[in-house]
Amino acid sequence: MTDTAASSAPGGVRPPKSEPRPMVDGRRRRLGDPIFRLVAAACACAVLVMMIGLILELVVNAYPAIREFGLGFLVSDAWNPVRSDFGALSSMYGTVVSTVIAMALAVPVSVVIALFLVELAHPTLAKVVGGAIQLLAAVPSIIFGMWGLFVFAPFMADNVQPVLGDYLGFLPLFQGPPMGIGMLTAGIILALMILPFVTAVMRDVFEMVPAVVKEAAHGMGSTTWEVTRKVTVRYGAVGLVGAVFLGLGRAVGETMAVTFVIGNSHRVSASLFSAGNSIASTLANEFTEASEPLYLSALVYLGLVLMVMTLVIQVGAQVWLRRIKKTLGGSS
């Protein structure tokens, strides 16, 4: 009897002494955890609400213009605030053309930069070069705009566009006066802006390829380029598509830099030298000036078109990434 009491003393004596404490603790736990979970869930739902709200607000505010112009809005090149006649064609055309130029320049360049960083450069050098390229991603859009308008556009007008006009002027793409601003300049600046993002993903993809596979190819006598082209790129093809999606998503909605240099005219022109506009640049330029309700609504309709483009790209990218995870999760 005394024996058992003594042996259980450390455990047996304490609870009665501190009896109130566990109860308070227990009560707080019972209350604290559900509250914590609820707050976290509410914040998580807020993101969901934000996304749905954004889409709904765009649809609601674009509704007057949707009713007025219907889907014909998408193929009409009219933009006349005085007569209240609006169409999205020139803005959509500008968005697509500037994005295509940007992708055409940025994707191949980032593939070779990633190749340099992963396969060729000394790790220390790769760190410095990679860091510098990543820093390009942190430069705010408006700085690209300032530099583009005051530094790069004059440079294009003096040195690049005349040369292109002389040698490739027989193509409708490179005709017209070299003004500096315009589609081509906007596309090049966009390419610079998405370069770091695409490079980062490409680099990750290249690094994911198992060394053994590459070494095997090297062992067969392949050169570095052959290993890259036939092993690394094939192995990481799905990841490369993801990188392209990422760049697309960035380029489509980029606003300030494009607004500065694209020239802002509602014209569809085959020449890349001529001024144009994009959906984002039209919004940035005209939204605060739009006084008529229908004008405002037409601008929101433009925003809705951009949102649909973004959603298609985002959903495409996420579905694609999920597929990669599945296939790579299974094989590696």
Binding site: C43, V47, L120, I133, T223, W225, A280, A284, T288, M307
Partner: protein, 281 residues
């Protein structure tokens, strides 16, 4: 495989290697060019008055951008106050409670999508819910739009960083009898602290250079920001307005503001990345 001459293959290899070196140099060259031009043209515009005086009309001597500097600081600070707690808690939900369930995966989808939504559309959204009903532009609306941009970024980083914390740590804290919230706040947060801080700093850096969402929300104003309930002066929209103006002295001031914004955004970014070394590019 069709055999090719070794010299041809070697030449191609050297050519591609040279190309890749060249491409990297081109990237760095453009970065250097931008930094150099902004610094060169901006330094001429920055003097004591730039920080201490309100904007002057074009042609008038003197004047600075003190009101815009203060406005940007206020808007960014308010956006951080709204965006960080919301974003962190949303990230906590994703990492701690919503790993498998339906709500978790829909929120994760929303976070990824919102991260890709162009910032100008966020401006439109806030205009529709915050400016139209009140009938005027305001600094609060500007802060809201920046917060909306921040929340998904912070949520995503938080989720990623909390995901790196080993479950064993959570389990041992739970085994000690700590309630779930306590485990998250004092154990999980603590071990993920540096990563979360980096993410938050990067998000703050990013929104402080944003222009597009402020165009239709905070608008701009030449006056001292005495209240955020009215159009609020800020640096980035000022750059846009001044750069598009035909006045040389305004354009000069725009370069000064550009240098200030670029230096602070890049400074914050580099600080955030260097302060935490584990996190990769």
């Amino acid at each position: 495989m069709r055999p090719r001459r070794a010299t041809y293959r070697k030449a191609t290899d050297v050519g591609v290697k040279a190309l890749s070196l060249l491409a990297s140099l081109v990237g760095i060259f453009f970065l250097g060019w931008i930094l150099f031009e902004v610094a060169r043209r901006g330094l001429g515009a920055i003097d004591w008055q730039f920080f201490t005086q309100n904007p002057a009309p074009p042609g008038v001597e003197g004047g600075g951008l003190s009101s815009a500097i203060v406005g940007t600081l206020l808007i960014t600070a308010l956006a951080t106050l709204i965006g960080v707690p919301l974003g962190v808690m949303a990230g906590v939900y994703l990492a701690e409670f919503g790993k498998q369930n339906r709500l978790g995966s829909s929120v994760r989808f929303a976070v990824n999508t919102m991260m890709g939504v162009p910032s100008i559309l966020v401006g439109l959204f806030i205009y529709a819910i915050f400016v139209l009903p009140f009938g005027h532009f305001s600094g609060y609306a500007g802060a809201m739009s920046l917060a909306v941009i921040m929340i998904p970024v912070v949520a995503r980083t938080t989720e990623d960083m909390l995901g790196l914390v080993p479950d064993a740590l959570r389990e041992s804290a739970l085994a000690l009898g700590a309630p779930r919230w306590r485990v998250t706040v004092s154990v999980v947060f603590r071990s993920a602290k540096s990563g979360m801080l980096t993410g938050i700093l990067l998000a703050v850096a990013r929104v402080s250079g944003e222009t597009a969402p402020l165009l239709f929300t905070a608008l701009n104003s030449p006056y001292w920001p005495s209240s955020l309930a009215e159009p609020t002066s800020n640096l980035t929209v000022t750059i846009f307005n001044y750069a598009m103006s035909p006045y040389a002295d305004w354009q000069q001031a725009a370069w000064g503001a550009s240098l200030l914004i670029m230096a602070s955004v890049l400074g914050l970014t580099v600080f955030a990345r260097v302060a935490l070394k584990e996190k990769k590019g």
